[in-house]
């Protein structure tokens, strides 16, 4: 029975590179996947592209390719990545140049069509999934709009001979579905098969999170050599069974527990995992240890909804933050006094704050008033944090300044003040009918061409 090996090379934009290089050299992989696009990343990348039309792709693209390309002479693995972010065309051109310099004759394809910003005015009536308000209420604050594409652009690029496929926004698991659909030449009407490829993609898309990352809990769930975490490689068989492994000699942990945690990660209704090409059903899945490897089987699928989730990035004001620490006897009460001082100061200065939040780090910053379920410990130190949402940058900066002023004017022994201002780009979502989005390929046959 035919099988394909796919390795995970990155689970987020800034991930480590060494595990990917190890998988290229020792993993005998057919494909390597770099998933580098969080919900908001593309909106920030769009701002970079506006400032410089040659930018707007993942800032680590060149760094990664400098390390990866020289290895491809001996290990010709194909690469699929969403490092194109807001500018897959520029990213593909960059990689093409780098490959040429390395003496590699590689076909580099860009998948386009996710960027629907220019046509957004046509969709003003669509309700935002978060609030129900119409899209047009975001007005001119919108900076980006990207539909989540499915796997078709990737599988078509591979079928046309691409060695490297660079996308912008595609649904993360489709980075894996794409090569599997191309390799096994299945129909996109085969919902069960698609569902199995989606599970494969879902398990690889966060890379080290299935091999012991985001898992270790000393004494409860120990993970060996977390500093040397091996990334997963899966073998996908034509019957849809998938076998996960990590390379011998790497750190980390791969067992039923790590796989189950990642299988359910970010999943809402496990019977209805919505993706552009299929509604995947996880409820029939079994996870079974097989020696050092873990076998996952039993996913199914139902026909797609015909709607594409589309992320709309919009400017959403500023967040001003400040922090300061207090230690020793009575430190919690001094931190609380600092909070009282700040609240008075914000009022005296007439700061226009849309929302303000105070935390005591070590006490209630993670669980707020729900932290009462834990017995209060004797604290050697606490750190007060304030964060406030503002319309303008100046007001946001005043938050941190007022925290720093506590050094001299606040309670006894305040130390380590830090402040920060963040320009906020938030993300809202709408559902676009699939026929509104045309997937295009670029870089294989000269001119861009559309695929169905």
């Amino acid at each position: 029975m035919k099988s394909i090996r796919i390795a995970a090379g990155a689970g987020y934009a800034g991930d480590r590179i060494e595990p990917a290089l190890d998988s290229i050299c020792r993993g005998n992989a057919d494909y390597l996947i770099f998933e580098c696009l969080a919900e908001r990343t593309i909106a920030l990348a769009q701002k970079e592209k506006l400032a410089d039309p040659a930018k707007g792709y993942n800032p680590l693209l060149e760094y990664r390719m400098q390390k990866v390309l020289p290895l491809l002479h001996e290990h010709p693995v194909k690469i699929i990545t969403n490092m194109g972010a807001a500018n897959p065309l520029a990213a593909a051109e960059k990689v093409r140049q780098m490959a040429k310099q390395e003496g590699l004759h590689l076909q580099v394809a860009a998948v386009l069509g996710d960027d629907v910003l220019e046509r957004l005015n046509d969709y003003g009536d669509l309700p935002l999934m978060e609030t129900g308000a119409p899209l047009r209420t975001l007005g001119n604050s919108v900076v980006s709009a990207n539909a989540y594409l499915g796997a078709k652009g990737i599988s078509a690029a591979l079928a046309a001979g691409a060695d490297i496929v660079i996308t912008g926004r595609v649904a993360d698991p489709c980075l894996v579905s794409g090569p599997l659909m191309a390799e096994f030449q299945k129909s996109y009407d085969d919902a069960d098969f698609l569902g199995k490829t989606i599970v494969a993609g879902h398990l690889l898309e966060c890379a080290g999170q299935v091999t012991g990352g985001y898992f270790a809990d000393p004494g409860e769930k120990d993970v060996p050599e977390l500093w040397n975490l091996g990334f997963p490689i899966l073998t996908f068989s034509e019957n849809g069974d998938l076998l996960l492994e990590k390379l011998p000699g790497t750190g980390g942990l791969l067992n039923e527990a790590t796989v189950k945690e990642q299988l359910l990660y970010e999943i809402q209704n496990p019977a209805e995992y919505l993706t552009p090409d299929v509604v995947a059903d996880f409820t029939g899945i079994t996870v079974q240890q097989q020696g050092e490897k873990v076998l996952v089987r039993g996913a199914t699928g139902r026909p797609k909804t015909g709607l594409l989730k589309t992320s709309v990035g919009y400017r959403d004001g500023y967040i001003g933050e400040g922090e300061i620490s207090y230690g020793g006897h009575n430190c919690t009460r001094r931190a609380q006094l600092a909070e009282t001082v700040l609240r008075h100061r914000f009022t005296l200065l007439g700061l226009a704050l849309r929302e303000v939040r105070f935390d005591l780090l070590g006490v209630n910053s993670l669980y707020g008033p729900a932290a009462g379920v834990f017995a209060p410990p004797q604290l050697a130190e606490v750190r007060l944090r304030v964060a406030a949402r503002t319309a303008d940058e100046e007001t946001a900066a005043a938050i941190g300044r007022e925290v720093e002023a506590l050094y001299v004017n606040g309670p006894a022994g305040g130390g380590g003040a830090r402040s920060r201002v963040t320009s906020v780009v938030s993300v809202a979502s709408v559902l676009l009918p699939q026929q509104e989005v045309q997937v295009m390929l670029h870089g294989l046959k000269g001119e861009p061409y559309e695929i169905v």
């Binding site: 359910l264 970010e266 999943i267 809402q268 899945i285 910053s365």
Partner: protein, 99 residues
């Protein structure tokens, strides 16, 4: 007994929604979890954090439950004022549940 004695857990986020799995350490304890970790109890635990809704999904083949919480993330990772804007630490609260 605390839930962490029977199960492990991982938190994820999708927009303003938090997803938290509860996975039995030993598959034989799944029925105990099913009885003890109800959506009502989980909602009550997270209500002080702003939770307005808790849905529970059952995965007997994985000996796991999956919870979907609305209201705990302060607008989601892109705009929340919280230090842990993803809510990555929320599984640590769920595992404190008395079962």
């Amino acid at each position: 007994m605390k839930l962490f004695e029977l199960a492990h857990s991982r938190t994820g986020d999708k927009g303003n929604i938090s997803t938290i799995s509860v996975i039995a350490n030993h598959a034989g304890d799944y029925e105990t979890l099913q009885k003890a970790v109800t959506a009502e109890k989980v909602l009550a635990l997270f209500a002080p954090l702003g939770a307005t809704k808790a849905e529970r999904y059952e995965l007997p083949k994985l000996a796991a439950l999956n919870f979907v919480l609305t209201g705990t993330l302060g607008g989601g990772v892109t705009r929340s004022l919280a230090l842990d804007a993803h809510g990555k630490a929320l599984s640590g609260l769920l595992l404190e549940l008395e079962v």
